[in-house]
Symmetry: C2
Subunit: 239 residues, 2 copies
């Protein structure tokens, strides 16, 4: 469809151990759909340097925009910034602009800007800081990689700063027809309709709710007139 593409890397042992249910992928997917960036794939890796480096390299080479969540706090398992720096071939150290933000924050709170907290000012050379209105410690963008926090409120606030700086495309639109028939009954005709519209994406999602059994038929695309035309045909078939 000609839209820019995106990929997401979710970083953290807590997701793979089942301690935490990630919500950032779902949030990002909806926001990218809204601004017209096609999210094409996502990966979840643990707090492992080599795996973060490999995933960032692969995504940065094959997509227009890469979004990461997690691993930018002050503790020993927060290794995202260093891994992204290595993946992007940048040097990294405590950067003055990030340190100044954090120093001022801890001064206001009467707390010490200690060595652990200085870790959060480790920013790759050449990166642009991403504002963190929730807890100050910034994310950063380097090349086409946008590095954000894992805590959902902070991830969402950082994404709100980043998205307006990106060139999106046509928003991905969708319309849904809910039918009280099983997928197996509508599959043949629905498949033929999908084949008629190679520029649209059509999917079917069965539901079973309070005894009602049926299928949601979803048509997605960027051209509202084409979607409407396909919906007319869909309604004629199953409406």
């Amino acid at each position: 469809m000609g839209n820019p593409t995106g990929a997401m890397l979710v970083i953290g042992d807590e997701i793979l151990s089942g301690r935490t249910r990630d919500s950032n992928l779902y949030y990002l997917a909806q926001e990218l759909t809204r601004v017209g960036i096609d999210l094409r794939e996502a990966r979840v890796v643990g707090d492992t340097h080599a795996e973060i480096v490999a995933a960032v390299r692969a995504f940065s080479a094959s997509h227009d925009h890469v979004f990461t969540s997690g691993g930018i706090g002050p503790t020993h398992d927060d290794i995202t910034a260093d891994a992204v720096a290595e993946a992007m071939g940048a040097a990294i150290g405590v950067r003055a602009d990030a340190a100044a933000l954090l120093q001022a924050h801890y001064d206001r709170q009467g707390q010490e800007f200690n060595a652990a907290r200085q870790r959060m000012a480790r920013i790759p050379d050449g990166a642009v800081l991403i504002d963190n209105p929730v807890s100050i410690a910034p994310g950063f963008s380097i090349g086409n990689v946008h590095v954000m926090a894992g805590v959902p409120k902070i991830f969402e606030a950082m994404l709100a700063s980043v998205l307006p700086t990106l060139t999106g495309g046509a928003p991905l639109l969708s319309q849904t027809l809910r039918v009280l028939r099983g997928e197996g009954e509508i599959a043949a005709e629905f498949g033929r309709l999908a084949a008629e519209y190679p520029d649209l994406s059509m999917g079917s999602y069965p539901f079973n709710l309070n005894g009602a059994h049926g299928t949601n038929l979803v048509i997605r695309g960027t051209d509202p007139a084409m979607i409407s035309q396909a919906m007319v045909q869909l309604n004629r078939l199953f409406g």
Copy 2:
């Protein structure tokens, strides 16, 4: 830690477009932790043949167990079985055992076992069927790849059939200490403790709940005595 490793592949445009929030990864992560299989990575791809093939090949070669969800229904966008067959170098067609299950099911319901529904009996040669007590259409295991439905209730039921057939390891255990201090205050000492225990994984997760601000310190591992010993030290430091 010597446990077998696992990887998960979530398949479906509806996850990447933000229509659906995946819950199967979270469920699988908890179940694998319980049976002692280390979930090492996960990927989400759309309904795209080449991407499913590539991900299954990569995972099958590098992990002991691979779990997929999604794309095994009767509609044109259900392409998982064919992609997995290609990835594993197996032929695929409508298989008599799967067809018999489905034929009997639709006979009972007085519905036609039509061409679309026969699609759900496409099973790679050499695969073992996975029972589907919810809606009959089976999943399958081929080599170390376990192919299951995307609908959470069916995914969970299929996983319950598959897990007892796999060789797990020592369950991954965890203990948590909740402290009312920020991550930046505890990071240095927590990091030193983590370095003392290379066989344990230690993570810190900040929270902010009803005005209470603090950090959950989590120690994970397979040796309960070692975890307890580390928890004693953790309590001494921060309890």
